[in-house]
C-alpha cells in the first residue's frame, strides 16, 4: 500500500546536489506492535533537541499487532510542521509493504532497507542504503525475544550517522524515552550505537540531507493534542469525566486520569474529581448531562460514531439548558471505515446534532496551546450559556506529536455562569428558571441540593414555560425557542475570535480551521514565493461565526475554504450564515484521503482554481 500520492517529479534530493540542511522528511515503514513507536520518538526527539523544528505523524492501522504502520518525521528550519507530501528518506522495515513503499517514491529519494529485502533491484533512480539488522541486533541483544523490539532502534543510529544527528542527543532521547527502565535504555542505546557504527564503517553518504544544530526549539515542548487537552481540562477545573473508549479519543481521558491522580488529590487523600468509564456513549453523555445539571464541570471525549450516539441526549441538554463539554477527536467514517485516519468530517453533523431545531457552539483548536486553552473556553462557554459545547479536534492533532511553546497558565478565573445560591434565593424569594432577566437569552439556574424551598425546578425538554412548568401552549413554546436562539446569537460575541494573517487587503482570502492551519501557513509562503500571489488568511476558531468572519468574506473577491472533508462542510455552514450575494465568492479546497493535509496540495489546487 502506498501512503503517498506523489507523482514522480524533480526531487529535492537528486544525486550530486548541494547539501540540504534541516529540511527533509523521513518515513519509517514498520509493522505495528514492533516497538517502532519508541524508535520513532527517539529519532524525532534527537532532532528536536538539536534545535531543529520537527513534526511527527503516525499513520497506523486499526489493529494491535502485525499490520503495516508508517511514521513520518519532518524536520524544517522554517518551522513548517505540516505533513510534507514528498518523502526524502524511506526507512523500509516492513517486508510486506517495502516494494510498494519504494515504488511510490519520487526519483532521487533515499531508501534505508533491511538487507534481505534486496530493494535496490526495484529501481535505479533512488539512493539505496542496506543494513543487515539481524546480524547487528544479535550481539547487542542476547535475549532473542527482545530482538524484534530492539531491532528498530538500529535504524535510529544509522539515520543519525547519515544525517549527522549528534549521538549525544540520541542518547539523551533514549534515556528520556526509557526513563524508568535503565536496562531497556542501555539495550536500546547499544542498538543505536551498533547502527551508527555500522553506517560509519559501511555506508557511503550519497543523499544531500543533513541535520545541523539550530536554536529554534529552545524552551519548547513535545506533546500530543489529547494530552494537551487533558491538561487543559484539569486546569479548567473539570470535576466529572465520563467516557467510552473510542479511537482516537481514548488517550485524552487516559492521560487525564494520570494527570488528575497526580495533581487533583486533596490533602485528605481524596479525589477532587470523578472519572467513570461508561457502558457506551449513550451513558457517557447522559452522565455528563446529569453531572452538569447538578453543577459539576463535566465532560466526555469521543469520535464521530460516539457523536452520533450522543445525538438524542445532546438535544435534551440543549433544551433543558445544561452545560456539557464534548471533545470530538474527529476521524474518518464508521468504525469499519478508516478509524485511525484523520478528518474534519463531523462539522455539520455536530453543529446541528440532534432533532428539532438544534445548533451548538463548536470550537476548533489548531495547536497544542489551543487544545489547552480551549478546554477552559469550552467549560466557561458551556456554563455561561448553559448548553453543550463541542471541541472539534482531530486525529492528527490529538494523537500525533507536536512541537509547541509551553502552555500559558490560565489568566482568567473560572466562570461558572448564572447559578443562584441559597443566599440569592433568600434575597429574591423566588425565581423563574427560563426567564430572560438580562436580555441575553440566558436564564438563572439553581442546582439540586440547594437548601431553599423555592430552589427546585423541573428539568424537561422544550414543553415548559418560563417557570419550568409543563406547558404545551404555542406562545410558551415559541417564546422559549426564540430565547434559546437568542443565546446562540449572544454567543457570537463570546466565542474565540478568528485569527487574521496578512494585511486583510488582498483580493484572495483563504479561510481554514483546525489542523489545516499548518498547511495553510506553508502554502501562503509557497503562493507568495512561487506564484507571487499574496493572500490573506483567516483561521476560524468557533461556530457560531463572529462578525470578523463575515467581514473577511465581504472584503475578499475569492475566499478559498480549505478543509479536510468531502462535502465542504464549513463552507456549507458559512453559506447559511452570510448574505446570499456573497456565496459565489466561496471556493472550496477539500482534502479527503485520510492523511493530514499538506501545503503543496493546497497551493496547487488554489492556483488551478485561480486559473493561473
Amino acid at each position: 500500500m502506498a501512503t503517498t500520492d506523489v507523482v514522480p517529479q524533480e526531487s529535492s534530493g537528486q544525486l550530486g546536489q548541494q547539501r540540504v540542511v534541516n529540511d527533509m522528511s523521513i518515513q519509517v515503514a514498520t509493522v505495528n506492535g514492533s516497538g517502532s513507536q519508541s524508535s520513532n520518538t527517539v529519532l524525532l526527539r534527537s532532532i528536536f533537541q538539536m534545535g531543529v523544528p520537527i513534526s511527527g505523524k503516525n499513520l497506523f492501522p486499526s489493529n494491535i499487532a502485525g499490520l503495516p504502520t508508517w511514521y513520518t518525521i519532518r524536520a524544517n528550519k522554517d518551522s513548517y510542521i505540516a505533513r510534507k507530501k514528498e518523502i526524502d528518506l524511506l526507512v523500509a522495515m516492513n517486508a510486506e509493504t517495502a516494494q510498494d513503499d519504494v515504488k511510490s517514491l519520487a526519483p532521487g529519494a533515499s531508501v534505508l532497507y533491511d538487507e534481505p529485502l534486496a530493494l535496490d533491484k526495484l529501481r535505479d533512480d533512488l539512493i539505496f542504503y542496506s543494513v543487515p539488522y539481524d546480524k547487528l541486533v544479535a550481539p547487542v541483544c542476547p535475549e532473542a525475544k527482545l530482538r524484534k523490539l530492539i531491532k528498530n532502534m538500529i535504524y535510529v543510529g544509522v539515520v543519525a550517522q547519515l544525517f549527522e544527528i549528534e549521538m549525544g542527543e540520541v542518547e539523551n532521547a533514549i534515556r528520556k524515552q526509557f526513563a524508568k527502565k535503565a536496562k531497556a535504555a542501555n539495550l536500546n542505546l547499544a542498538a543505536a550505537k551498533a547502527g551508527y557504527d555500522y553506517a560509519a564503517a559501511n555506508l557511503k553518504k550519497r543523499d544531500p540531507f543533513y541535520i545541523q544544530r539550530m536554536d529554534k526549539t529552545k524552551g519548547k515542548i513535545i506533546i500530543d493534542g489529547n494530552s494537551a487537552a487533558a491538561m487543559g481540562c484539569m486546569f479548567a477545573g473539570c470535576t466529572v469525566v465520563t467516557w467510552y473508549p473510542i479511537t482516537p479519543s481514548s488517550s485524552l481521558v487516559e492521560t487525564m486520569i494520570d494527570y488528575m491522580k497526580e495533581y487533583r488529590i486533596g490533602p485528605d487523600g481524596k479525589a477532587t474529581f470523578a472519572i467513570v468509564q461508561a457502558e457506551d456513549e449513550l451513558a457517557a453523555i447522559g452522565m455528563v448531562i446529569g453531572a452538569g445539571w447538578a453543577g459539576a464541570r463535566s465532560m466526555t471525549a469521543t469520535a464521530g460514531p460516539g457523536i452520533s450516539l450522543m445525538a438524542e441526549f445532546t438535544g435534551l441538554a440543549y433544551y433543558v439548558e445544561v452545560p456539557a463539554v464534548i471533545w470530538d477527536i474527529q476521524r474518518v467514517g464508521p468504525s469499519t471505515g478508516l478509524p485511525t485516519r484523520t478528518s474534519q468530517g463531523d462539522v455539520i453533523s455536530t453543529a446541528f446534532l440532534s432533532h428539532g431545531d438544534t445548533k451548538h457552539i463548536l470550537l476548533f483548536p489548531n495547536s497544542m496551546i489551543e487544545c489547552f486553552t480551549m478546554a477552559q473556553d469550552a467549560f466557561d462557554l458551556a456554563e455561561q450559556f448553559q448548553t453543550p459545547v463541542f471541541v472539534m479536534s482531530d486525529l492528527d492533532l490529538g494523537m500525533n506529536n507536536w512541537m509547541s511553546d509551553p502552555f500559558p497558565y490560565p489568566d482568567k478565573p473560572i466562570k461558572r455562569g448564572k447559578v443562584l445560591s441559597k443566599e440569592d434565593l433568600e434575597k429574591l424569594g423566588s425565581f423563574a428558571r427560563y426567564k430572560d432577566v438580562d436580555g441575553d437569552g440566558v436564564g438563572y439556574r439553581t442546582l439540586p441540593g440547594t437548601d431553599h424551598p423555592a430552589a427546585a425546578w423541573f428539568a424537561r425538554g422544550s414543553g415548559h414555560n418560563e417557570k419550568a412548568q409543563y406547558s404545551e401552549r404555542p406562545d410558551d413554546f415559541e417564546r422559549n425557542m426564540e430565547r434559546i436562539n437568542k443565546k446562540f446569537e449572544t454567543a457570537r460575541s463570546f466565542v474565540p475570535r478568528p485569527e487574521l494573517t496578512g494585511s486583510g487587503k488582498q483580493k484572495v482570502g483563504i479561510l481554514a480551521y483546525g489542523t489545516s492551519h499548518w498547511a495553510i501557513v506553508e502554502s501562503l509562503d509557497q503562493l507568495s514565493k512561487e506564484h507571487n500571489l499574496k493572500a490573506d488568511y483567516l483561521r476560524v476558531r468557533a461556530y457560531p461565526f463572529t462578525r470578523e468572519v463575515h467581514d473577511f468574506i465581504e472584503q475578499h473577491e475569492h475566499v478559498y475554504i480549505v478543509e479536510q472533508n468531502r462535502d465542504a462542510q464549513m463552507a456549507a455552514l458559512l453559506k447559511l450564515d452570510i448574505k446570499p450575494e456573497l456565496t459565489p465568492r466561496l471556493r472550496s479546497i477539500c482534502h479527503i484521503h485520510g492523511l493530514p493535509i499538506d501545503a503543496r496540495s493546497v497551493t496547487d489546487e488554489l492556483m488551478m482554481m485561480e486559473g493561473k
Binding site: G266, A274, P410, D451, A456
Partner: protein
C-alpha cells in the same frame, strides 16, 4: 362552649415539615392508575422518614410512570430525561453531588426494553439510588403495546397473546449487584410503605419492582398485571416492617419468627417469616426462589435480597467530602508550579 376552639397545630415530622411540603402537582394520570398510589406512598415515606425535600433529586425516563415525579415532592429538583436513559443522568448527578438522595422512577418499557443496557450497568455499580420500577406490563403512553415484563400467555385488550417470556427485573438486579431488591404491589399499602422507608435508609442501589396496574390498557381478564390478578396471586415472602434509627420505641418481636436486618444508619428492617428459613442475604437462594415462583405461577413479593454492607459506587470513587459540583477554583485548579512541572517533563 364559650371559648373558641384554636386550630390544632398542623402535624409535622421530625424536621418540622408537614406532609403538604412533600406534595407535588396534580396528577394527570388515569384515575385508579397504580402509579398514583405509589406517588402517595413515596410522599408518606419521605415525610415519615423526615427527609429534607431539597436534598432529594428525582429522575425519570419517558412513559406514564416517568411523568409521575411531577406529582410528588415539588420542593425537590427533578429531571425528566430521555427514554430508557435515566440511570446515566442520575449517575452523573450523584457524581457531581454525592449528598443528594437520588430517587428514580421508571416503567417496564423505560427500563426493561429501551433502557435494559443502562439498567444493567446501574445495578452493577451499586450507585446510591432508590430505583422504583412501576411495572404494568404494558406501554401506556403509546396506548397499549406489550412490554418485556408481560407474562407469557397474557393478552392485550385487543386479544393479542404475548408469546415471549417475561424478564424478571428483580432476579436480574440481584445477579447484577443491586444491594436491596424487592417486589411489591401498588395496592399493598403497608408492604410498599415499609419497603420504601427501608429504601430511604439504604445506602446503595435499591431496586423495587412495584406491580402497578394500568387501568386503561391492562386491567382486563387475561392480564397478569391487573388488580384482580394481583389480589389473587400475590404471595408475600414475609411481612415487612421498618423501624427507623431515630425512633426510640422498640417494638418487641420474636427472633424465632422475625428476621432483623440492621441497615447502615442503624435502622432496622424486620421480616416476619411466612416462609421458613428464607435468608434475604443469600443471593443464590433469592434467585432460586424467584425462579421457583415463576414455575408455581405466584407473584412473589417482599424483600428478596439485601446487603447493607457493600460499598457504594460513590465510596469506591473516593471523592472528596464536599460535593464536586461546588468545589472552589482554589481546589480544582492546580497552581502555576504544577503547570511548570508538567511543561518541564515535556521538554
Amino acid at each position: 362552649m364559650s371559648t373558641t376552639p384554636t386550630a390544632p397545630a398542623p402535624k409535622t415530622n421530625r424536621i418540622g415539615l408537614q406532609v403538604l411540603d412533600y406534595r407535588g402537582g396534580k396528577t394527570t394520570l388515569c384515575a385508579g392508575c397504580g402509579h398514583n398510589a405509589i406517588s402517595e406512598r413515596i410522599i408518606d415515606a419521605m415525610y415519615e422518614m423526615g427527609v429534607r425535600p431539597e436534598r432529594v433529586a428525582k429522575f425519570s425516563g419517558i412513559g406514564c410512570s416517568s411523568k409521575s415525579p411531577a406529582y410528588f415532592m415539588n420542593r425537590s429538583h427533578s429531571f425528566n430525561s430521555v427514554h430508557g436513559r435515566m440511570p446515566s443522568v442520575a449517575t452523573g448527578a450523584m457524581l457531581a453531588n454525592k449528598d443528594l438522595i437520588a430517587l428514580g422512577v421508571t416503567g417496564d418499557g423505560d427500563t426493561v426494553s429501551i433502557g435494559a443496557g443502562q439498567f444493567i450497568h446501574l445495578m452493577r455499580r451499586n450507585l446510591p439510588i432508590i430505583y422504583i420500577l412501576e411495572d404494568n406490563g404494558v406501554y401506556g403512553l403509546t396506548k397499549g403495546q406489550f412490554s418485556a415484563t408481560a407474562d407469557l400467555g397474557s393478552t392485550l385488550k385487543t386479544g393479542v397473546v404475548n408469546d415471549l417470556p417475561p424478564i424478571d427485573t428483580c432476579a436480574l438486579a440481584i445477579q447484577l449487584g443491586a444491594t436491596l431488591v424487592g417486589r411489591s404491589f401498588s395496592g399493598d399499602k403497608r408492604q410498599l410503605h415499609s419497603m420504601l422507608k427501608a429504601a430511604i435508609a439504604h445506602k446503595g442501589t435499591v431496586m423495587l419492582d412495584v406491580v402497578s396496574p394500568c387501568v386503561t390498557f391492562n386491567d382486563h381478564e387475561g392480564s397478569t398485571k391487573s388488580y384482580k390478578y394481583m389480589q389473587a396471586h400475590e404471595e408475600p415472602l414475609h411481612e415487612v416492617s421498618f423501624v427507623p434509627a431515630f425512633e426510640e420505641i422498640n417494638v418487641d418481636y420474636d427472633p424465632g419468627t422475625t428476621l432483623e436486618v440492621t441497615m447502615h444508619d442503624g435502622s432496622s428492617l424486620r421480616l416476619r417469616k411466612l416462609e421458613e428459613d428464607y435468608d434475604p442475604t443469600d443471593k443464590i437462594e433469592a434467585v432460586h426462589r424467584l425462579m421457583e415462583s415463576h414455575v408455581k405461577g405466584e407473584v412473589l413479593t417482599g424483600v428478596f435480597y439485601i446487603n447493607a454492607k457493600a460499598p457504594s459506587f460513590i465510596d469506591m470513587l473516593n471523592v472528596t467530602d464536599q460535593p464536586l459540583a461546588t468545589l472552589p477554583e482554589s481546589v480544582v485548579r492546580p497552581g502555576r508550579e504544577v503547570l511548570e512541572k508538567c511543561m518541564e517533563e515535556l521538554r
